[in-house]
């Protein structure tokens, strides 16, 4: 799981460092805002915990033993943002002092395990545990699943990063310059081990830690983030608006940038409609995008049959009532984002309602 130096190209490493930096910055800023002066001791000790937990050996079914990354357990207790920072620091110390994971690949390892791992663990735990009581066995299952899901998603990302190397980076003789296995080999090789055995280590650690804390220190599970500092959070922070404001601004900016796609020349490979096969201009573009291989004279039968099943309200990101294509793109982006947000608001409202009904019936 810890990618060593030399397995990823410098550009992949740089890209993943670049992707990780905004998450590190946001995570650090959020934890700092919540913890204030408690930040330093808590993160230092939490990072130490992450480091030591990675050294625990666990017996797994089948007579093997494994090490857990511990991201599930840490996320459940400290919250995703503190977990991101703590696991990253633990990974840095592992890479620099113990040679476990590379220095150039540190950004990739953090992105896979600390950042995506923490987010996956957080959302899995929240979705499965919902608003059950702290002592509920469902929380143990939720934590176990969170650890298992986090480690497997991290493994999948690792496999994808390794798998794209031979497609993109080869020397003059055609020999892969970095990790040599393409996606069709890297993904099964990585996932087989993690889905069956290695992932179980994190399942057991996260589930086991939560079960242990339920018995001995349930207060730790009641605190939402970073060791109980949420008690000091202001109402604005609790409502989430101030914390998420930068994300809203970025989302708006991205919506405004959507017409950039108009500048691209040619056709998106494989995104052709049935009518495109009879349009001479489009046929030229399809051939140009397919290495000068001429498309079939008629659209494939299945494509022709299924293409009439659903007609989109905004075909080609251009609502029929809008004449200016750039404005059409922005409208489509707003509509799409609105649908997604609406869906999640609805799901959140339904979960909240169900929990409230559950609370009322239990009292």
């Amino acid at each position: 799981m810890h990618i060593p130096d030399g397995y990823l190209s410098a550009s992949t490493c740089a890209l993943l460092y670049g992707t990780a930096i905004p998450f590190w910055y946001t995570a650090f800023a959020r934890v700092k805002r919540l913890l204030n002066t408690r930040l330093i001791p808590l993160l230092a000790v939490a990072s130490t915990f992450c480091f030591v937990i990675m050294m625990f050996n666990l017996p797994l079914p089948g007579g093997t033993t494994g090490h857990a990354v511990g991201v599930g357990a840490v996320t459940v207790v400290l919250g995703p943002w503190a977990s991101m920072v703590s696991v990253s620091i633990a990974l840095l110390i592992q890479a620099v002092f113990f040679g476990d994971g590379g220095i150039t690949t540190f950004g990739a390892n953090c992105f896979n395990m600390a950042i995506v791992g923490s987010l996956v663990a957080h959302f899995t735990y929240r979705a499965v545990a919902a608003r059950t009581a702290i002592a509920s066995p469902r929380r143990v299952v939720a934590a176990g699943l969170a650890g298992y899901a986090a480690i497997n998603v991290a493994a999948l990302l690792t496999a994808c990063e390794l798998g794209i190397q031979p497609l993109l980076f080869k020397d003059a003789s055609g020999a892969p310059l970095y990790a040599p296995y393409a996606l069709h080999l890297a993904i099964p090789a990585m996932m087989l081990g993690h889905l069956t055995f290695a992932g179980l280590a994190d399942l057991f650690v996260a589930g086991g830690v939560v079960a242990y804390l339920q018995r001995t220190n349930p207060a730790l599970l009641g605190q939402k983030s970073a060791g109980g500092a949420t008690k000091d959070a202001s109402p604005a922070e609790a409502s989430g608006w101030r914390m998420t404001r930068p994300l809203w601004i970025r989302l708006a900016l991205l919506m405004l940038l959507t017409p950039l796609g108009i500048l691209a020349a040619g056709t998106a490979w494989g995104e052709w409609g049935a009518k495109d096969f009879s349009d001479p201009l489009m046929r030229q573009q399809i051939a140009a995008a397919s290495g000068q291989v001429a498309p079939p004279s008629e659209p494939p039968r299945g494509l022709a049959r299924l293409s009439s099943l659903w007609s989109a309200p905004f075909p080609q990101y251009a609502p029929p009532f809008v004449r200016h294509p750039a404005f059409g793109y922005v409208m489509s982006a707003m509509f799409g984002c609105g649908l997604i947000l609406g869906f999640f608001l609805l799901v959140g409202w339904m979960i909240g309602e169900r929990s409230a009904v559950g609370d009322r019936t239990s009292t």
Binding site: T37, T48, G63, F97, S173, P180
Partner: protein, 277 residues
């Protein structure tokens, strides 16, 4: 990370061995950093600024010869820094060779290309491209690992962390890293004591489920201690007047020798970059 095969050593023993290995590794590095060698003499900030580009160039190089030359540079650097090659071979080269060799072995046969040798009984063909791919991977991993280990073996750890400021890390993060490093020893000791006390009370053999419960309960106990300790440390800091601002003593001083060596390292990195394009 899994260890295949049923082992006579239980989980408690394995975990104890991991903790002792980590402590032993740290103590060895501290001892090695006190030697009077080339890298030990350099300012830690200069060392990071000099060695980091070499690791990056090892990842960038597209020619095998250049990666081998960088590896040779690392070996010379180890000799000049009085790091025994036997130690490097045992601690780094062998481990990387086994791990990366195991990973890259199938590439010899799976990489499409010109067949250069066919295994007699199986009929599998080793391709030239597969061999090159395996060599790239192994040499890159060996070179980068040697440079990073040299950095750590020739610099006290606390100095490495403090010197990370040269990479423009925020000062708060440097302080957290320093504290993390210090508490690692305490936690390793704590975890070691927990497992040792468990072992001392064990008679007979625990089955898999029991061992798992023991390990996860250990992790849970350590988590409780973590939160409690962070509160204690915070109160101790407050009682000494801590109000949120952090200061780091900057005791490093560069001399002409540091800058001369930095120039040498940067020149090597530039040459490797140029020839490795």
């Amino acid at each position: 990370m899994t260890h295949a095969g049923k082992n006579s050593r239980g989980v408690v023993e394995r975990s104890l061995a991991s903790f002792v290995d980590a402590l032993e590794h740290a103590f060895y590095a501290e001892e090695s950093a006190k030697k009077n060698g080339l890298l030990q003499k350099l300012d830690p900030r200069i060392k990071i600024a000099a060695v980091f580009p070499l690791i990056v160039i090892a990842a960038l190089a597209r020619r095998l010869g250049v990666i081998v030359a960088l590896f040779a540079t690392a070996v010379v650097l180890a000799l000049l820094s009085r790091v025994p090659l036997a130690t490097l071979a045992k601690r780094v080269w062998l481990g990387v060779l086994i791990f990366t060799g195991f990973i890259s072995f199938p590439a010899l046969f799976l990489t499409p290309g010109v067949a250069i040798y066919t295994l007699p009984l199986l009929g599998w063909s080793v391709t030239e491209q597969g061999l090159r791919a395996a060599m790239y991977l192994i040499m890159r991993a060996e070179t980068a690992a040697t440079f990073s280990v040299l950095l750590v073996l020739c610099t006290p750890w606390s100095f490495v962390l403090k010197a990370l400021r040269v990479l423009r890390l925020p000062i708060v993060l440097v302080v957290i890293l320093g504290m993390t490093y210090r508490y690692i020893f305490l936690f390793l000791r704590n975890a070691h004591d927990m497992f040792m006390s468990r072992k001392s009370r064990m008679v007979g053999h625990l089955d898999g489920g029991e061992q798992r419960r023991a390990a996860t309960a250990g992790a849970g106990a350590l988590m409780s201690k973590t939160i409690q300790l962070s509160g204690d440390v915070y109160l101790a800091m407050r009682s000494r007047g801590f109000q949120g601002e952090v200061y780091v003593l900057d005791e490093f001083q560069t001399h002409w020798f540091d800058w001369a060596m930095l120039a040498v390292f940067i020149s090597i990195a530039l040459l490797a970059f140029w020839f490795g394009r």
